[in-house]
Symmetry: D3
Amino acid sequence: MSIVVKNRERADRGAVEALAGFGVATIHEAQGRVGLMAPYMRPIYPGALITGTAVTVSVPPGDNWMIHVAVEQCQPGDVLVVAPTSACDCGYFGDLLATSLKARGVLGLIIEAGVRDVRSLTEMRFPVWSRYISAQGTVKATLGDVNMPLVCAGALVNPGDAVVADDDGVCVVPRQRVGAVLASSRAREQKEASTRARLAAGELGLDVYDMREALKEKGLTYRDGKD
Amino acid sequence: MSIVVKNRERADRGAVEALAGFGVATIHEAQGRVGLMAPYMRPIYPGALITGTAVTVSVPPGDNWMIHVAVEQCQPGDVLVVAPTSACDCGYFGDLLATSLKARGVLGLIIEAGVRDVRSLTEMRFPVWSRYISAQGTVKATLGDVNMPLVCAGALVNPGDAVVADDDGVCVVPRQRVGAVLASSRAREQKEASTRARLAAGELGLDVYDMREALKEKGLTYRDGKD
Amino acid sequence: MSIVVKNRERADRGAVEALAGFGVATIHEAQGRVGLMAPYMRPIYPGALITGTAVTVSVPPGDNWMIHVAVEQCQPGDVLVVAPTSACDCGYFGDLLATSLKARGVLGLIIEAGVRDVRSLTEMRFPVWSRYISAQGTVKATLGDVNMPLVCAGALVNPGDAVVADDDGVCVVPRQRVGAVLASSRAREQKEASTRARLAAGELGLDVYDMREALKEKGLTYRDGKD
Amino acid sequence: MSIVVKNRERADRGAVEALAGFGVATIHEAQGRVGLMAPYMRPIYPGALITGTAVTVSVPPGDNWMIHVAVEQCQPGDVLVVAPTSACDCGYFGDLLATSLKARGVLGLIIEAGVRDVRSLTEMRFPVWSRYISAQGTVKATLGDVNMPLVCAGALVNPGDAVVADDDGVCVVPRQRVGAVLASSRAREQKEASTRARLAAGELGLDVYDMREALKEKGLTYRDGKD
Amino acid sequence: MSIVVKNRERADRGAVEALAGFGVATIHEAQGRVGLMAPYMRPIYPGALITGTAVTVSVPPGDNWMIHVAVEQCQPGDVLVVAPTSACDCGYFGDLLATSLKARGVLGLIIEAGVRDVRSLTEMRFPVWSRYISAQGTVKATLGDVNMPLVCAGALVNPGDAVVADDDGVCVVPRQRVGAVLASSRAREQKEASTRARLAAGELGLDVYDMREALKEKGLTYRDGKD
Amino acid sequence: MSIVVKNRERADRGAVEALAGFGVATIHEAQGRVGLMAPYMRPIYPGALITGTAVTVSVPPGDNWMIHVAVEQCQPGDVLVVAPTSACDCGYFGDLLATSLKARGVLGLIIEAGVRDVRSLTEMRFPVWSRYISAQGTVKATLGDVNMPLVCAGALVNPGDAVVADDDGVCVVPRQRVGAVLASSRAREQKEASTRARLAAGELGLDVYDMREALKEKGLTYRDGKD
């Protein structure tokens, strides 16, 4: 049976938007290093950063029918997250779907498959993180699910979770944890700011992080190359 | 035996040039979704679009001698299509060969192997779609064929076929079909233009494409996430 | 046992800097086609070219502790070369470490693993050639070695060797051979300049390189496609 | 924080054992084609079939400490399911750990990383499905979790879920669904038995499945190759 | 449009069967080193050797409907050759289809996608060369072609061509060339027999193939490691 | 320039043979976890274990001429180690070369490329660890080196080093370290024997290795799943 769940609760909009102040690396650290998608998920153009709420779509290989179904479930601030039920490099998504999503206020697409029309998407500034780029089209013959939990590129995504994506990759923050992760991201960033200043001034991480004793205990040995 | 075929008939120049009005995705659709190379064929810089006629070169692994032989067979408007007889990541092609091809009016290179000097090639605006980028040079010791049919990145290429390449990948249009594919590309584009306008105005693909009934028949079920 | 070797002799600074006049492809050719890293080592942004002296770091999978140790061993003009003891796609390195290295005059990073904060690194113009881009952080729990010989992406790197990296990849020049390789690079470049001019003027490589006789002897046959 | 959850409820033992009457392909079909791990998970020797209950282990790259912790949580009939927090090809597991698990009645190992001592494991008939085979050892320095939900090779695994593995791969059946999946597997098998007999007798699937009309409606056309 | 071509002319049965006296490596050499599929095509069990005539099937990703259509076109001595229109790792084929093909005298399957029920297939001794093994099933919703030329794993296959497969991989011999290739295979084998005897007796290939002079001319230099 | 070094000093024969009492995993541990080749190096049949001394061969892509040259340099107890100068999946080696090597007492082949005639090699019991299996032949046109240091599958191999290979992969032991590694292998094995007995008797690794305190200090927390 194929199901579309409507009106899924989303993570708090304000908190999700505030995550945009941080990158994927910081947020991933701040939530305890979980929820990162595999590194083969790459942006189609550099420099994009989005933070939105997930509308999930499970699609058969080579069939993008459910993406059309999913568009209707999208709200401004959403991010579409698409995973095929088995590995497929087809181009599921192009400029027409992007036009439609943009008209609904969707911020971008995360897809563990292929995307096409990347020049148009780049010109439209509709960011996509995908596993492949391919002109190969898909059919509309078989159903899947919308807004059901799924695994995308190794990460569990529940509908309404926050999704953060930038040049480093894609990270999922569970809906209920967005506030806490935002707080830890801020704390982490503040702490890093002073560290960054010290390192820029030439201090060594060995001293800033006070590592010398621990390294010595572990058995680190220094030798002079000139001897 | 190693063969070079001279004066291969090319696809109609005017029609091939007219294909440049469309992208690879549109042309691939317009010809019935055949002839696409594997998605590992990527451009060395973004934004290039070429449409030309194929001069094919079959090369041994790690040996680019036949590319030098092929240059002589090239005419303005041609695209060089190179496939190794077994998988090889060597850099078969650099700025000297590009200089030579450019002097003959060749539009670009498609190679299911490696390319080098990519910074120079980018500055020259000589576009290349390749499987690898590698500085590893090749030898000139063993022969291959020029202008014989070959399989490049999973696509059959006959000499004189039209080759279209952009940021989405590379597609081959058989010589005799170029006119027909051009016509269908135009038809497709026109149809998409009005669809695009409707989607941009906020209409849903579900309605534009009239999918709701078919989805219901297939068993699509809606559920409210708030219940 | 884990070892840090201090004060490793470096390749001659002047000669290493002079290598910057050539690209990786030329230098690799000039030294007899050895020392090239695997083509999966890609720059995080296009256009960078560095030539420096290697400080080598062997790291456990998922553990970047030794990179912090290595920073102290770096001098202006060095390049950090990091290889994990088994394949790992973690993001070992980000903007804080880059800040620290930059403060010490280090020119860039070569890492057969992952890197993160690539947007910041790009803005800082701190070039990195890596196998992966990933936000996944690492721990600081297990030791490795600094300034010991290692294999990085298939190439043997001895501490103090010259490392050259550009859009074509990464090449290692043994410390003692830098002068000789510089000389052959110059010779090669000079020779290529005149060849380039002839090719640009429309002469064929077949004639410039005088290949016709050898091809004929090997059995190359011409046939007319119109017959 | 690192957590070990003790006494996780397991799927019903009798039902799990009954699944052994079917292969992964049948069970995967019977539960609606969800829960299959990626096809890179391969058995170290052919012919093994296990059905057990999952004890899950999340491990850092290159660190197998938590596997030792997990052994204590295992009961007869369990299957250990191990996933690294980032991709790693180390050999996390060898004959000593297998000896220990076997002593506790554990049926096998599923690991999205490397395994070693495969000859000994084969002789012991301790089956392992892994992504890699590698002699590279691991350290014991950093914690992970035991019996927390995780994603292994693209499939969500909750502790106590049924895990089925054979030459076709690995499939996860949620704890609460084991009874239902067992029933559908039986139904499916019965239906297939009669189909198999008809096909063996030379009837065509086109007729057995009554496909001819549907194919015709879709536009399937027959042509004679002799014309 | 989707087409099934009936009654395609096959390569001469007697000659095809005679090819079974040679392995893929010999036949590939004998026909000039063309027609070999990519090395990722592996047998599901060792030791099988088949030589038959190709019935080709082009299938959409994740859809095996056309395989059912193709069965009807098979004759004793045929080999089914299946290629998806884009990369897909689904398990298109299992023991039911094998039962059906076996009933029709089909010798085996070549598929550039996934296969399942490999234990049953092994027990049935129905050999399959595939790119993947996966339990993931397929749908029956979209058409493809039967007995049209296709590219499978990089090799062009025309219906009726001879297909040879063993532990070394899969090779295609064009229908019209089977007789000639058989003759050269025999010649090659005879020549190799005497070479084998000489090598087994301790003669060196350097002398058997009379290579010393050519090596010397190329510049091969000997040095003593004891000096 | 291409060089063949004759009469390279080998590791002590007795010690090398004694290594056969241990597997790759043990030896790799015993020498401090260095020298392991990448896990894509797989045996063509299961169950083989060889320990010999390396004769190294550097070959161009698609060219096996130097293997013929290398045969002459082999002595009983040697293992041929072949690495291409760039990635190549050709079948460099088949039953004729194996016949010749066997006649000289060579124990097996390690090749970071392809091998063919695997059925014959299996029947001859001539073990090969390779990256690929492929029937694609090679040419004899370009030189390489014999008995010069090279990097094979990520491991540095010096001529005369000990090479150990089994179902877990391939490990290189530097010539001068063979004695020491043999001693540590023995020590390791002895220690493991008693551990194995304790684990087989049902003791937990947590207790055998005395890990509980360290885990607690690191912050490991237990929770009951029934609460």
